[in-house]
Amino acid sequence: MSMFTQKMRMLTSVVMDSDREKVVKALLEKGVMEFVHIGTLPAEKMQKLSQHASTVPRAALTDMRIRIETLLREGSVSLPDIEKTDIDNLPSLDMEASRRALDRLSGSLDTIRAQQREINQKMNFYREIIRYSSEKNDEYLDLRVGSINHGDSKDLAARLDAIGGVFLFSSKPLVSLTLRRDSARVSDVMDKFGWTESTDAEAQKGAMSEAMGEAREKVRNLESELKALSEESSKRIRDKADDLCALWVNVRVNELCEHVESYFSYTKNTTLFSGWVPEEDTDTISKTIYDVTGGRCIIEWTEASQVAPEEVPVSMTSPKILRPFERMVDNYSTPEYGSINPTPFTAIAYLCMFALMFADLGQGFVLLLVGILGTVYYRKNPLKKDGLISRYLCNLLLYLGPASMVGGILFGSCFGLGIFPPLWFDYEAVVAGEPAAGLVQSVYDILGITIKFGICVIYLGLILNWINLVRKKRYFELVFDKNGLVGGVVYTIGIWFAYGFVGSGYREFPSAPWFMPILLICLALVVIKGPLGYILGRRSGKPKESVGRVAIDTIMDFVVEVLELFSGFLSNTLSFMRVAGLGIAHASLMSAFYQMAAMPDNAIASIAIAVIGNVLVIVLEGLSAGIQSLRLNYYEFFTKYFTGHGIAFEPVGLKSRIVVD
């Protein structure tokens, strides 16, 4: 892991056109290069270069890949591991033949669906009959029991089937159960066969239950057929899974090659390409290109320092263990090239904040357990979509659980009960107002601890900012910015002032001979920031402005900066009181639930209340603590040193995210 963003170098290479495909595949296998268009050559040279001409349009490849993925998903088949494929020996891609194969598979699925539809419609019809009977709406049904004088009962059944109903024509008397709304149509058909209604009352009575039994049997059979067809559609895809996976790999590799080659430029016999590579991978990339081309290549490396910093992509290397926190940083923004990697600091700050807000050994263990179970579940079901407890949340809980458990040990809390002595102080006892020994005796002391914690976090943010500014050689900002040295000094004397005031029991402000001179020097630095910035800007070629404009800007900037300096730092620091607030709320809620649990005489009710209370606190407080920790990191910590002006490094490799332009 590097404390700072990874150093980058830009590769520019010329290879023979005949080696192009091998080079592209080798670079894709390495997956450490972000390609850029060659745009820095003089215009007359650029004119001599031609752009990549696709044999197969990339959009067509993308469409086909999406199509295969859709079919694989339909059959619950996972995508193959492309890295395990020998991409050098892939068969050539025949788009037309592949499309035909996919059409055939897709067409067979449509055929199955058409069969399903037909069955479903029949089932709906029988269900309507069954429903009318079970809801005692017999007036909507038309039951007939009788015999025919001429013709064949099979012919009659075939004609009546077109209308719909249950027909028991295998034994006598014949039974017909149809819908009353179809009576006229049924009568028309029956008349042609000389239907005579039976006068046997017993036969009439038993006919309804017999017909209903038949209808239910038909529905059961149709349901089985429907299920079998549904399974058949998945099976058809699974039968073709190997072909589909092989085709997917081929299409994906071609798509990636097309994507990479779209950055290339060509002369008659050579290919020119360029891209960013992390410094630690430069030797590997050079060797790969040399090996693949047999030395028929030219490779040039450009240092990142020779390029404008905002054009250099930013790569952060954090250990795998810090991945969930890297995502938090990514969600915020990408740091500038060359600045400090915020991930480890975010991890420490986030976990400390969470542990202080949600300190409980037992509840932390529950969080850890949920994290473990969720992770195992998602590993076993890789195609499963994220639920309310997403993959990321499960991963994060693997850290938050232990953090909470450590907090619980420090404050002697397990499911809100003080069943073991605290390592630091008894949080619940302090919140409950019970007499406590040691330095922490009241909730004000807890608030004080979190404010001190906040001061440490803000100072850390300022120090990280100063390191970033020194590395970027932005000395003007280092001195004059509100998050620079001036800001640091103002914040320090502010803290001294506040502590002096609080220390006197809120009776008098502290005084010292150095206080006013330092404050005035700081304010003077804030005042001269504008004019000095203007003078330095003029030297570096910025446009001239009138004296009046500069003066007004200086006054406005001074007012805003002073307000931001004082109110900003004050609010940032006091914002950390929420850490105590959430912790106190956690202890209070647990205490309230246990008091409620003690009320009923019934032990089962008491246990149920205690369990429900714990579940509610774990869900609601856990969520609040997680959100508030993130908020404190984003708004109180990151704003001190994280400018977020960088562009993320996105190397193209076989495992790259799906590339769609």
Binding site: Q116, Q121, N124, E128, I163, G164, R181, S233
Partner: protein, 365 residues
């Protein structure tokens, strides 16, 4: 309760959902899919996810559409449950429109059976039978042998009075169109009443949006039924919805009493909606010859496209307007309805194996 507390939660909830709908490429992906099965699978992971499941289990698009309708009903109920009583009542009136579409389907099936003598067969299963707003006996509708028996299915509902104004003879002679129009008018009357019960900004916003909505519907009816189907003026009067600017101007200027009522109505539309004045003016009062009919049809399509855009922009304006109002709710329903209709249309088109280009042309995408 303040407006903020009334609407803060639902505003945040619906804006998140609207964001998902607006950023979705679902329709584009569905249209691009080469087969129906592949188009359906694009619904996985969207709010229509279980429709895909219904289709996989039954292979029946109409069954899937019924499921979509049930979702729509659930969505209206869910949102109404988060709103204060007066706004919730308004949402219930909007839900009545869904109920009316459902009962129109039931009536069409009954009509098909009793008047046209076609077998309903399994098709009755695609009518939603559960309670939507009013207690209607759908089984009775579809099994009624006479018109009077059918009306009894609506006993105790506001629809009973409307249905009583018609008879089997009238419907046999004129079809279901006059009955459907009468039901639409009933709904608009309910809407007007519900608008009056809304409060403050909610009322202003809803009145504005539905006034434009009704105007646009009236223009559509004018262009379709007057210019295209040559409905006589006295019948046209019964067709137009008695709400909105156009209807009130027709009333104020006594257009039907003039020598050339259509010229007066044209003038009213052109004054209010000058963007379509050229198309309105170009429509000829006759389609005796095929050229005129074709030209009229294309003008009407252009007018419809404009009206659809105008309607969309009116609803989109609500999203950038007052956040703690009923506006975001109305926009959400509009977007959902739009997406639902398009999803249904694309699935039907895929079922009939229409090409991508033909689908895009037909849907104006």
């Amino acid at each position: 309760m303040s407006r903020v507390s009334d609407y803060a939660f639902i505003n945040a909830k619906l804006r998140a959902r609207i964001g998902i709908i607006r950023s979705s490429h679902l329709l584009d992906e569905m249209i691009k899919s080469p087969s129906l099965a592949e188009a359906v699978s694009k619904l996985d992971g969207t709010r229509h996810g279980h429709i895909a499941e219904v289709y996989r289990t039954t292979g029946d698009l109409q069954q899937a559409e019924l499921s979509m309708m049930e979702d729509e009903i659930a969505s209206y109920r869910e949102i109404a449950s988060y709103l204060p009583a007066h706004s919730a009542h308004f949402i219930t009136v909007l839900l009545e429109k869904v109920e009316m579409d459902n009962l129109k389907n039931a009536l069409r099936l009954w009509y098909s059976d009793v008047v046209r003598h076609h077998i309903i067969s399994f098709r009755s299963a695609y009518v939603c039978r559960s309670l939507i707003v009013h207690s209607i006996d759908y089984d009775k509708i579809m099994n009624a042998e006479s018109y009077q028996e059918m009306i009894r299915a609506f006993s105790g509902t506001p629809y009973e009075a409307v249905l009583s104004r018609f008879s089997l003879d009238i419907l046999t002679e004129k079809g279901l169109f006059p009955l459907e129009i009468a039901l639409d008018h009933l709904w608009f009357a309910h809407l007007e009443e519900a608008l009056r019960h809304l409060q403050g900004d909610d009322r202003k916003l809803a009145e504005k949006i539905y006034s434009v909505d009704v105007d646009l519907k009236n223009i559509l009816m004018l262009t379709r039924y007057s210019y295209y189907f040559h409905l006589p003026h006295d019948q046209l009067k019964d067709v137009l919805i008695p709400m909105g600017y156009i209807s009130s101007e027709i009333e104020r200027l006594k257009a039907y009493e003039s020598d050339d009522p259509m010229a007066v109505i044209k003038g009213i539309v052109q004054r209010r909606y000058p963007q379509i004045s050229e198309e309105i003016a170009a429509i000829r009062g006759t389609n005796d010859d095929l050229t005129a009919a074709d030209e009229n049809a294309s003008q009407i399509l252009r007018i419809e496209a404009y009206l659809a855009d105008r309607r969309k922009s009116e609803y989109m304006k609500l999203l950038v307007g007052k956040p703690f109002s009923i506006g975001v709710v109305l926009s959400y329903f509009f977007l959902c309805k739009g997406e639902d209709s398009l999803v249904s249309a694309v699935l039907s088109a895929k079922n009939y194996k229409w090409s991508e280009t033909k689908i895009r042309e037909a849907l104006g995408l």
